[in-house]
Subunit: 310 residues, 3 copies
Amino acid sequence: MSNTFFQKDIVSVRDFDREKFEEVFKATDKVIEMNPNERRELARGKTLGYLFFEPSTRTRLSFEAAMASLGGTSIGIADASSSSAKKGESLADTVRIMSLYSDVVVLRHQLDGSSRFAAEVSERPLINAGSGTEEHPTQAILDLYTIRKEKGRIDGLKIGIVGDLKYGRTVYSLLYALGNYRANVRLISPPSLKVRSDSTYEIRKKLAYTEATDLEENLTDLDVVYVTRIQKERFADMEEYVKVKGSYKLGPELLKKMKDDVIIMHPLPRLDEISHKLDSTPNAKYFNQAKYGKDARAALLALVLNEKGI
Amino acid sequence: MSNTFFQKDIVSVRDFDREKFEEVFKATDKVIEMNPNERRELARGKTLGYLFFEPSTRTRLSFEAAMASLGGTSIGIADASSSSAKKGESLADTVRIMSLYSDVVVLRHQLDGSSRFAAEVSERPLINAGSGTEEHPTQAILDLYTIRKEKGRIDGLKIGIVGDLKYGRTVYSLLYALGNYRANVRLISPPSLKVRSDSTYEIRKKLAYTEATDLEENLTDLDVVYVTRIQKERFADMEEYVKVKGSYKLGPELLKKMKDDVIIMHPLPRLDEISHKLDSTPNAKYFNQAKYGKDARAALLALVLNEKGI
Amino acid sequence: MSNTFFQKDIVSVRDFDREKFEEVFKATDKVIEMNPNERRELARGKTLGYLFFEPSTRTRLSFEAAMASLGGTSIGIADASSSSAKKGESLADTVRIMSLYSDVVVLRHQLDGSSRFAAEVSERPLINAGSGTEEHPTQAILDLYTIRKEKGRIDGLKIGIVGDLKYGRTVYSLLYALGNYRANVRLISPPSLKVRSDSTYEIRKKLAYTEATDLEENLTDLDVVYVTRIQKERFADMEEYVKVKGSYKLGPELLKKMKDDVIIMHPLPRLDEISHKLDSTPNAKYFNQAKYGKDARAALLALVLNEKGI
């Protein structure tokens, strides 16, 4: 019997139910515990082809490291928008040809729907490494995995998501994913950076959440704080930016007001929204998160490439 | 006894006779049929070093995928003209050093003769991945292989080559290669984009061909249609460009007028000279061509690296 | 008992004593003599993560080739200053995350001290591939290895270092390294390109050297001539540049005045400070030097990654 993900595309977190998440989480647990020699059999002789139309060094390296840990090879285009596409080639042709050169295709693209479309033309399974404004399924998987691994569960937790919730597909993917769990979600952001109203209807179908503005007042009871970067270029008014930025910054003072066993997460890269002083505290889990990211992606690749799973 | 290509340079399609082509074609057949584990022994622990002075994502990835499928590793410079060369290093030094780091060197360079010259200084076999205006031997090999594979033979076929025949080394390489077969070649292009007159003498030594201007009138009896991209930047007069471009476009209407078993090829990337509507027809072979390209390059690398051949 | 370098950072040539150099030299001898299959076990399944904040194709490829020859994989950022750093990420975060994805981190950075700092935050051993104005330990190792290999020893040799001694970390690393041997060092450069006075105190603690200006007069008794590139952009006065450049150029005429068994070295890339006419002489060792560079780096990686050494 073949595993659920064998030779399947990973396009949207909205295609996942709780059972699917658990399947990947268990595979990730296994991949982490595995003997390296055994692990290297999972993609031995296989090739991952990546196409990044938006550069994203972090995600690319995470996939490359994952593939290498499975014994496979990665080839690809780190800045696809400046290569074949420059010659005017269609996304369909670029994806299709990459799928002739590799066993699994990893695509990052700025347009909504690009990944779904690409999966249709690809001759090999396609994994969405971020598309449009909402979809980044492997990030959502690694985010949930980190919570589960560090807190032992996701259900029943109080989870705060902090910062810029308007832009950045990471937040949307996470919210859609959390809809499969009974988590207590609080969104904490400046009014101008709240979740986009055209997405709330869809999110609320599965996830009840509350919204708040003041960070300090809303941190004390949280089990998980997920911080995101507030980007300067989102603000027309620089004074507003400086004010907002200053008030969504996590440092030692705020940490003292939080639960002893709170975990702090961040998709990275961070600027100064989390003080480096927190890095050495047991609450800081953002580097673990990056490490689990590599393993969760390895697990996913292994499931997609191996009929019997891991 | 060692195979013909062992430790030899692949510089020009003009160094190939029919026997040599057949040797690579047979090796390609074998590589395709081979068990992946066996295939991965052919370059196990070997390193391919690539130097692309002209960027060419497609060709680079094809070589990298080929090398990976043989169990080898690729390292290199995807945009060599903006790296060492920027520091003023000579081509000779760049090639020579790359040849100290690898087992086979793959070079793409804009100058005629660059590849021949580079082969002389390289301490390892050098494969020309496109040089100057005429040479792209591995493209010619994969083009012929595709015809042979899809039509069962090359001799006796009616082959039309369509579009911009003036610029683009692909066409010249293909014409020199076809000179080794008894094919019936028709060149179909606007008058301003005919094969360069300074090359015709050399080509005609081995290949008889006819020339035509009207696409529609010249398609009905062809067994193979090889389409190339017409590039905007070649025209001083935009009106002329639009006119020409429109009349060298293959779509469903023209396909109806062609032989049922005609095969349509294209070196890719394509713009709109072949309608996407043809992609799903059994006549469209340009994606197969790309796939065979990877395998033909793998076969060539395997021959160059293994004394006993494949 | 574990080898001296196992899981250790390689940050500065100043951390090396004679014994350490000899340990790497012996390992390099072994790596060169080794059966390729055996050699490929030394980093099997291991990943090298490189971060080049200053582009350096040569050094990067040398490390990648070295890693491949040990059976390992390389991933990384060839131009780190234009990727994550562009998003404002700190060096500490970039290095730390790379260290979560790989087994050894290779860093090139323009700032003095960057490598020492990065080694502290890295969770895996970090190898300095050039930092600031003075440090390039793996270059110094391969330079000394080349002398030892080609001349049989380092002690007692007359070594001339020629050209731009003011800029270029290669020269400083080499001088610090030579301080561990009883070599007779002569620095030959135009007055404006002498070793920086703020470094001479430190260098002179371990190394006695003399300085000279005229190349021709100072070559006749040398056993080793180490030539460096004189860069145009260092000169405010173009006339001065042309004069200086012309007089620090090694050609057949000067070679005749040198010892028969003198060896000529260069860290490469070279411009015209060594005539191509010397390339085929037995004295020219700069290509060997590049080749040994790959092997010396492979040896170092093998020592860092394998407890028992090689």
